[in-house]
């Protein structure tokens, strides 16, 4: 109400600039999120994922060190092959790791019998389908790609 009193031409200009800036920010954010890689989970586990992210680094989930959802169910990790560009980007950008680091950890588990490696799918479509159908599953997709 009161702001009209101060609505001089200079403040109007400032407001307009601010609006433009906000729009620009929103645009950058939204375009960023379109092309970002996102963690996906089985529909029943969305709340569990929120809780999990508060307690743990997602990297430890994909490194098979955090093995259980907060409710005690075992996490089913699903990934794409080491040389898949989506996998490589996800590991670097979202987990802040390198694919060879994860491979080293998974190999240790697999070939000593002390743990299990994530299940592997070959494509984004398979990833989406398998995560959607597997209770307690977690995976990732390229948001940009899935909109195409």
């Amino acid at each position: 109400m009161d702001f009209r009193l101060f609505n001089t031409s200079s403040t109007l200009k400032k407001q307009r600039t601010f609006c433009l800036f906000l729009c620009a920010c929103l645009f950058i954010l939204s375009s960023h999120s379109v092309h970002a890689l996102e963690v996906i989970t089985h529909p029943d586990n969305i709340d569990q994922l929120r809780q999990l992210e508060q307690q743990h680094n997602l990297a430890s989930v994909f490194a098979m060190r955090t093995l259980y959802w907060p409710n005690g169910e075992r996490i089913r990790v699903i990934v794409m092959p080491d040389d898949n560009p989506i996998h490589q980007r996800f590991v670097k950008e979202n987990l802040h790791l390198f694919p060879h680091q994860l491979r080293r950890t998974w190999n240790r588990l697999t070939y000593t019998g002390t743990g299990q490696a994530p299940s592997t799918v070959d494509s984004a479509a398979e990833m989406l389908e398998l995560v959607n159908q597997t209770k307690n599953a977690i995976g990732y997709i390229d948001n940009g790609e899935s909109h195409e």
Partner: protein, 431 residues
């Protein structure tokens, strides 16, 4: 090279390869078939029945074949001034996550390693155990494994036969093949604990049990006598490993400790019948895994005590030796491309730190060459990961000394050469 492999070996390798690939393909098709079947109306049944099976049971395997050509001494068969294909490793494992805190795992291993296994190779149970996690919380877990368990010795021993898990064809000298039987696995129990903190992740493993030392190579190394008839036996031994990783393996630090006890099983008149050995050893490990650059260093010191060895110059009497051996290496790896890695390593192994150059050894009976007491090795290797499953690599070694080579591939100890070269090529597959 084919002449070194007899028909049996070739057939068995071919058979196991077929098995390996067919299992892999079955897994792959199952993977695809599950989502497809779920589109049908009976998806409920399939989703409940088939998926847990697929997710909870995993089958994995690996296969590698090496080609070697050397000057001076033999590796993996007759490689000297020739080509040997005497190293084949093939493993197949299954793991079953029965409950959230209960699992089973087993791995079979077929291995050919020059004359010490013979051309037909050996088949062994590499590990087989039950794993029970009896306590877990959000930052870690505590559990026990019982059965045959791999020994967490240094960075590479647990997966020493899986080519893809180490950067060069030949493991660093600290893991030399001659003493493989000492460290490879233990029959007994393992206590384990994982603990995650903001500063990094800790893993502790403690193995207690009997090692599997009935290996002629190890016996020949201890006694210096490849013709000995009996077998080494194990007394209660322990091995512990504390592993600390920052950023999920960007930095790895480990401390390993082993206290191993050996006895001897032979005929009543066998001069070695009272032989026993006690081995105390530790290893320090450090590794950096960057995007392109990897740096690794390990240092091991080993106190050996070999008692009741028959004195060849005074029949009926025995003697004891207690050499302290030392192994260390520094290694740098660089990923030129994501799937192409170059590795350079300087590696050193000394049988007795009180006789590093083997001078005292060579001047006393049986007057064998000094180079039997040490090995220094400069390694340059290239590794190409053709696909995530297939890998091809080549390497060159400039070796000074012969302390780590097989007495079965090089039976004339007096003629082992001090300065020699190894050229090696390896093709490996894993799934």
């Amino acid at each position: 090279m084919v002449s070194l492999m007899n028909k049996f070996t070739l057939t068995s390798i071919t058979f196991l390869c077929c098995l390996l690939f067919s299992v892999n393909n079955t897994m792959a098709t199952e993977n695809v078939s599950v989502p497809a079947s779920s589109l049908e109306s009976d998806d409920f049944k399939w989703a409940d029945y088939k998926k847990p099976w697929m997710d909870d049971i995993q089958i994995h395997g690996f296969l590698s074949q090496g080609l070697f050509s050397t000057t001076g001494n033999n590796v993996y068969g007759k490689s000297k001034d020739s080509v040997s294909a005497g190293s084949t490793e093939l493993g197949l494992n299954i793991s079953y996550q029965a409950l959230n805190n209960l699992s089973f795992a087993a791995q079979g291993l077929y291995r050919r390693a020059g004359e010490s296994t013979g051309p037909e190779g050996t088949v062994s149970l590499d590990f087989a155990f039950i794993d029970y996690t009896f306590f877990r919380h959000s930052a870690g877990r505590f559990g026990v494994r019982a059965g045959r368990i791999k020994n967490p010795w240094g960075l590479y021993n647990e997966t020493r036969d899986v080519a893809a898990t180490h950067p060069t064809i030949f493991l660093p000298l600290a893991y030399f093949e001659r003493s493989r039987a000492l460290f490879v696995s233990m029959d007994g129990g393992q206590l384990y604990s994982d603990y995650d903190t903001n500063l990094g992740n800790f893993t502790f493993k403690f193995n207690l049990g009997l090692t599997n030392p009935a290996d002629k190579e190890l016996l020949a190394a201890i006694t210096g006598n490849p013709n000995i008839q009996g077998d080494l036996t194990s007394d209660l031994s322990l091995l512990a490993n504390l592993n600390y990783e920052i950023d999920n393996g960007k930095y790895v630090f480990a401390f390993s400790y082993a206290n191993l006890a050996l006895g001897y099983d032979g005929q009543a008149l066998d001069p070695y019948k009272d032989l026993n050995a006690r081995i105390n050893s530790f290893m320090l490990s450090a590794q950096y895994n960057g995007e392109r650059l990897s740096l690794t260093a390990e240092y091991a010191l080993q106190w050996n005590q070999f008692s009741q060895l028959p004195d060849p110059f005074a029949p009926g009497s025995t003697f004891e030796i207690s050499p302290v051996s030392e192994h260390w290496y520094v290694q740098a790896g660089y990923r030129i491309l994501d799937n192409l890695q170059a590795t350079l390593r300087y590696d050193s192994s000394t049988q007795d730190i009180n006789d590093r150059k083997g001078i005292a050894f060579s001047q006393n009976p049986p007057f064998l060459p000094a180079q039997l007491m040490f090995t220094h090795d400069i390694v340059f290797g290239m590794r190409w990961d053709i696909t995530p499953a297939w890998m091809l690599r080549a390497e060159y070694h400039r070796v000074h000394g012969s302390s780590t080579i097989s007495a079965f591939d090089n039976p004339n100890l007096a003629q082992q050469v001090a300065d020699w070269n190894i050229y090696a090529l390896q093709l490996a597959y894993r799934f």
